[in-house]
């Protein structure tokens, strides 16, 4: 589950203060914290819930688990977002997704590889339906994906990482 790692809470504090500690800014604060750690550590959520007025750790946890954009587990260096919106779905996003899942041997709800290199997730629509099926790896957009193209892209990334 969640990795036991000591968290530097002064940085979380700075983020809370930059939003004046207002609970209406909770989502923005969580986004910044996630940017910092690549996920939302339990300690950071507990701290936010304790520190900010009108919130409790359980409430913060509720918000964090409600939105798909937040992850409670550390994400990989490369986050592969695979669109499975209607357009991408009918143009064959699922076979591409399955090929990636089986290549990395991800099962039982796990979505990050053991070496912490890749995280795979589906998203509902990236707003680029003309390019379906679309895959976004970190900030880079890959249009009209197939299983073969996906293999080449991943091979490239792995090769690059080895060098």
């Amino acid at each position: 589950m969640v990795e036991e790692k000591s968290i530097n809470l002064t940085k979380v504090d700075e983020i809370i203060n930059s939003y004046e500690g207002k609970k209406t800014n909770l989502i923005a604060i969580l986004q910044k914290v996630q940017e910092l750690y690549s996920y939302l550590p339990m300690e950071a959520m507990t701290y936010i819930g304790t520190k900010m007025e009108g919130l409790s750790p359980a409430t913060v946890y509720g918000v964090a688990t409600f939105y798909a954009q937040f992850s409670l587990e550390p994400k990989g260096k490369y986050v592969i977002k695979m669109c499975d919106g209607t357009a991408c779905h009918v143009r064959g996003s699922m076979p591409v997704y399955n090929s990636v899942i089986s290549r990395f041997n991800l099962k039982n709800g796990k979505y990050t590889t053991e070496d912490g290199m890749f995280s795979v997730e589906t998203v509902s629509c990236l707003g680029a339906c003309g390019l379906a099926p679309v895959v976004v790896i970190n900030e880079q957009v890959y249009p009209k994906m197939t299983t073969d193209a996906m293999k080449v892209i991943l091979d490239d990334i792995i090769k690059q990482e080895r060098e």
Binding site: S56, T59, Y61
Partner: protein, 591 residues
Amino acid sequence: MTNTLFINGKEVEFTNEPNLLEVIRKAGFQVPTLCYRPDLTQFGACRMCVVEIKYPNGRVMINSSCTTPPEAGTQVFTNTDRVRKIRKTVLELLLANHDRECTTCERSGSCELQKYSKEYDIKDIKYVKKRPEEYLPIDRGNPALVRDPNKCILCGACVRACSEFQGHSVLGFANRGSKTRVQPLNGMALDKVDCVFCGQCKAVCPTGAITINNEIDGVWKALNNPEKKVVVQVAPAVRVAIGEMFGMPVGTNVIGKLYSAMRKLGFDQVFDTNFTADLTIMEEANEFIERFKKGENLPLFTSCCQAWVRYVETQHPELINHLSSCKSPQSMMSSIIKDMLPKTKAAEGYTKDNIVVVSVMPCSAKKAEIKRPQLMTNGQYDTDFILTTQEFAHLIKSAGLDLKDMEEAEADSPFGEYTGAGTIFGASGGVAEAAVRTAYNMLTGENLTNLDIETMRGVDKNSKVKDTVLDIKGTKVKVRVVSTLKEAENSLQEILNGTADFHILEVMACLGGCVNGGGQPISCNDATIKVKRAQALYTEDKELTLRNSHDNPDIKKLYNEYLEKPGSHKAHELLHTSYSDLFKGSYKDLK
């Protein structure tokens, strides 16, 4: 302004009712509800209260009556085929996600889901039942509350109670869609998070998802063990509520019948916690006067409510010094019983090791209180069992007795005599009122001319904070009475930022005090029940000849023969306790 609308064809007047549901209920019609609680915000989660509304312009809508404001000229129908079908589907969907193990459920018989399933003739559920491997673990990790997520219908009543009453949202919603759960942070056990075990989540739960740890079996074992001397005490708020579970009108004081039921059940001694409530007042008033003279550790916090004590210990350990060092009346009674009876009743076979103390309380937090390490003597807990009002009613029923048939009786000497000051402990403001009556006497040597301090009374949701300024022969003493921890927190903030001007802070964690405690009979659908219970306590206070704790002859005798005087060495040994910083090392102690 008065307007009218029609309910099932009957013309009904309404003025400022917050929602249509209240109008419907006031008019004498019933609509089923699972998530609606008058003292909490409307939530509209369960959809059981849907009604068909025909507007003057001809539009017909199906809407949840708890979230719809009443509108003049509308025609409301509460039992049409359409709404009944919707309610039935709602029930079927809820039951598909419910474990439906009614026979072993603590709430069987008082469960609202069970009641409506019967009323709506649910025989066959067309949805697939949850598989056993999908069941979630039950949290039995603490002495007070049991949380069984498999019975939760996500109505959110507990989440609202925890946030709106206690203000620190131990329970919250987690996840989304079909994976939604009500749980503490990350599904942790209740004793690992900030839960104070007030039981208000249980009090508003329509099902058995949150229940109180049942200890009836242990009490039966003690009662049936001839070697044990089983002693029972009963709290002030129990006497005005337990009758409801035997069909008596709300607000009936059944204390006399309760004593005889206790004797019939086989308890060897029947005592009344009201006696030690009087004793608490003697000690607490004395403590207050000492602090007031020295000007230290003011305001004094009352310490009768274990949920409040735990709140201070976990959230504000820096304010622990303000808590009165007095044990709760329940703990005082147990300490005295276990200390005195082996001496005074040795001839009747009472020894240090064979006394079992059972306390009948309106409270779930008391179950946690008795496990406090500070309340142990020679390695043994002072109190052996806490039974809630509900549990005790079940105990009476399971013995084949009916409270209604019991004759009136008296409690046993020497801890059975009580005054009106002791009995009002069960309502918010009662402890402060009783303390003031005695403090006034201790300072001036006279009794207050008017013993009814009305400004400290009131248990409904509009009387959560009550300030009173008393003039004790020229000295002004300001008393603040607070119920619910959310309001208590506001007062604590005043203390922390230096604006607090009160000298005594009485806090009861449950709205309205113990009359509305977590262990009381279910009363969450009617906000007037707790008011009637409190009224019954104040009526008893008025009817008693002795209304000041210091006038209780048995209290005087106890001090003369045993404790010497309030605050003496012996009194401290038996009646006072200490508190500890529970924030340190908790999950929130991150640095």
